[in-house]
């Protein structure tokens, strides 16, 4: 017991000496801290893009809601239905109903050229034609400014994300569809989901404008419960009049976001891993010079009877403290710079724009701190071992 206490006392006093000598080595210490802060900031920053994108893509899908596409279609863009098919789908067992009828919205999904606010160049903004139940087959839909469009009129409402990213998409603005100008009469939110990147209008109006006859591309339905999905799916796939692909909305959105979030995540880790290697070298450099500067001091302590283990642990601890400071600085920097940063990008599956905001989540910050810790431990280990192995007599002679 006593020896254990003694051991801790040794570690504490060596650590104290180390930390007190930091002001003398402030140049290289600052370099280490900022080096690690850089790694963490870039890691967290790049991954916040993927997290934000995935959040925008997946927060829209409720478990008791489904989307139906033509079989073989990976996105709404390449799917297609006639009026008869959409009716069959809406009347399938398991679809929730209210006084107006089944909670099913047959929809049209096209893209429209609208200039991006930041660059002025055209972007493929998704334009969706919906039916009356559209608001009830999705979660958290809310008009936050202006009003809903009038059915049958050439009017649109715009998602909050699209409104921020593309020119003219504010309430009172105008959307040009060919030779026609459609007024923007309202702005909506969808709990941060994908719909916020879209422009919405009446499906009938859009069919006419895009010469689509009476055709649709997808059907969104609300089910009686999440558990009703398998029966609903079986009923549709068994129906010989239909050739469809039935998915939960949550699964559909997750699939849509997979490619881009995988790309960004892979690149993010690749970049951060390379930077981390650089930072480990930086940390090694700092700790080696810390050991070199204190060769005599450490030898003296060892001569007085301090143990090797205590020396190793104290030096590792010192390196860890620097790394954690760096990690915290980097995490804060990334949070300040990137959290809620508004952006938009191309979703390749639907060939259209997705507006999203970068998300620096607590999980990402923890990941950053974990990386900082690993860098600190790796950077501290070798120098600490060298310090512990110093031949005492030779080191003392350096006096």
């Amino acid at each position: 017991m006593n020896s254990l206490f003694n051991w801790f006392a040794q570690i504490t006093s060596i650590t104290k000496f180390g930390l007190m000598s930091i002001p003398q080595r402030r140049g290289s210490v600052a370099a280490t801290i900022f080096g690690i802060a850089g790694v963490v900031a870039v890691l967290v920053g790049v991954l916040s893009i993927a997290t934000g994108f995935r959040r925008a893509m997946t927060s829209s899908g409720a478990a008791d809601a489904a989307i139906i596409l033509r079989s073989g279609a990976d996105s709404e863009m390449v799917s297609g239905f006639g009026r008869g098919e959409t009716r069959l789908i809406a009347d399938a067992p398991g679809v929730a109903r209210n006084e107006q009828g089944p909670l099913a919205s047959a929809e049209l999904f096209v893209i429209l050229n609208v200039p991006k606010r930041s660059t002025g160049t055209d972007a493929n903004v998704p334009l969706r034609g919906v039916e009356g139940a559209a608001m009830s087959v999705r979660d958290k839909m809310q008009i936050v400014e202006g009003r809903m469009f009038a059915w049958g009129r050439n009017e649109v409402i715009v998602g909050a994300g699209a409104s921020g990213q593309f020119a003219g998409l504010e309430v009172g603005g105008i959307v040009k569809v060919g030779r026609e100008s459609w007024p923007v009469v309202g702005k909506f939110t969808a709990g941060g989901g994908l719909a916020e990147s879209e422009i919405w209008t009446d499906a009938k109006v859009l069919q006419a404008a895009y010469n689509r006859g009476d055709s649709f591309q997808s059907v969104y339905v609300r089910l009686n419960s999440a558990g009703a999905f398998p029966a609903f799916k079986d009923a549709l796939t068994a129906n010989p009049q239909l050739n469809v692909k039935v998915q939960r909305q949550s699964d559909y959105y997750a699939g849509q976001s997979e490619m881009l979030s995988r790309l960004v995540t892979t690149l993010g880790y690749l970049i951060a891993a390379l930077m981390a290697v650089g930072a480990v070298f930086g940390a090694l450099n700092t700790m080696y010079s810390a050991v070199a500067a204190r060769t005599r001091e450490i030898a003296t302590l060892r001569a007085l009877g301090f143990g090797r283990g205590a020396v190793v642990i104290a030096l590792m601890f010192e390196s860890l403290v620097l790394a954690l400071i760096g990690g915290a600085v980097g995490g804060l920097l990334a949070y300040a710079a990137f959290n809620n940063f508004q952006a938009s990008t191309m979703n390749w599956q639907s060939f259209s724009q997705v507006a999203f905001s970068f998300a620096v989540t607590p999980q990402l910050l923890i990941k950053g701190i974990v990386w900082a810790t690993l860098i600190g431990l790796l950077g501290g280990l070798l120098p600490a071992l060298r310090a512990a192995r110093l031949p005492i007599a030779a080191a003392l002679r350096e006096l």
Binding site: A31, A123, V277, G282, M346
Partner: protein, 383 residues
Amino acid sequence: MKFLPLIWGNLMRRKLRTSLTILSVLVAFVLFGFLCAIKQALVGGVELAGADRLIVRHKVSIIQLLPQTYQARMARIPGVAAVAHQTWFGGIYQDPKNFFMQCPVVPEDFMAMFPEFKLPPDEMKAWLATRTGCIVGRNTANRFHLKIGDKIPIRSPIWMNKTWEFDIVGIFDGEKKGTDTTALFFRYDYFDEVRQGMNWGAGLVGWYTIRVKDPARAAEVARLVDREFENSPAETKTEPEGAFAQGFANQIGNIGFIVAGILGAVFFTILLVTGSTMSQAVRERIGELGVLKAIGFTNGRVVALVLAESCLLTVLGGGLGLGLAMLLISGGDPTGGMLPLFFLPKSNVLFGVGLSVVLGLLTGIFPARRATSLRVADALRRM
């Protein structure tokens, strides 16, 4: 030059520190190379665009089709030298992950419009003789081990939602390193015949490319084209190929800005690490620098020695890093097919070399100034 052994000797005195510093610089430049290649992959189309080519698409959006009859009307517009059209086929070969572009084209028009695609004359002849024939870019042919004579099944969810089968009659190469050779082109007459048979979408094409007679008058020709189709059911939007590619790259996001941001953070980090190494190196050698000055070295020469040392450090690290990056990049796209063009342009390599020198000067300048402000007597006392 005669001081090279001295500089080298100084670096070699602390081998561990020197190699760690070189390694961290190396890592920074590997990253630099990678990010440049990624940027090139995403926005490279802008640089490769033909100055004398215009893209004509439907004004409302690129997914709207244009009548094929527009071709003859465009050809009559003054200033237009040639017209060719393409249509997005959106097909899937075996698995959606195996993405590459396919387009039905009119072979003669298409190959004349895009001389950057090189197809041997006998393969061209075979293509003209085979209705179901297609040509495949070298990159995709290598990726899926396709060869002339193979049949390639492609399922298109857009066009009839059926599997089409084409006969590979040719494999084309790119004229330049940056030319995209991932696409597959097949014959428009075959495509349209099937569409007529199914009574859906016949006579419609995706977009047109126009070659203008005089690139200086491209903007004027673009206006004429759009005016020609004004007030028709399918109005057009015409712009130079470069502007079209730029607009497309902008849709992905501000890639230049993101890459610059990351590289800024990386180089700032490396600057700190290398800078602190150099100032330690100078601090340790204050006495020696005093001796050098005492025996007649001018301030300028001492500064030059320190700067040469820091530059040697960063240029070594930078050169090795760029070399390693080129080696890794030549191994191919790290995302497994999502970036069709993945290479490091020469201009970026040169820029990287320049950057390593600047990095060396920046990291050496503060320690060097410290060395000059040194008074010989003080320095010698510290021996």
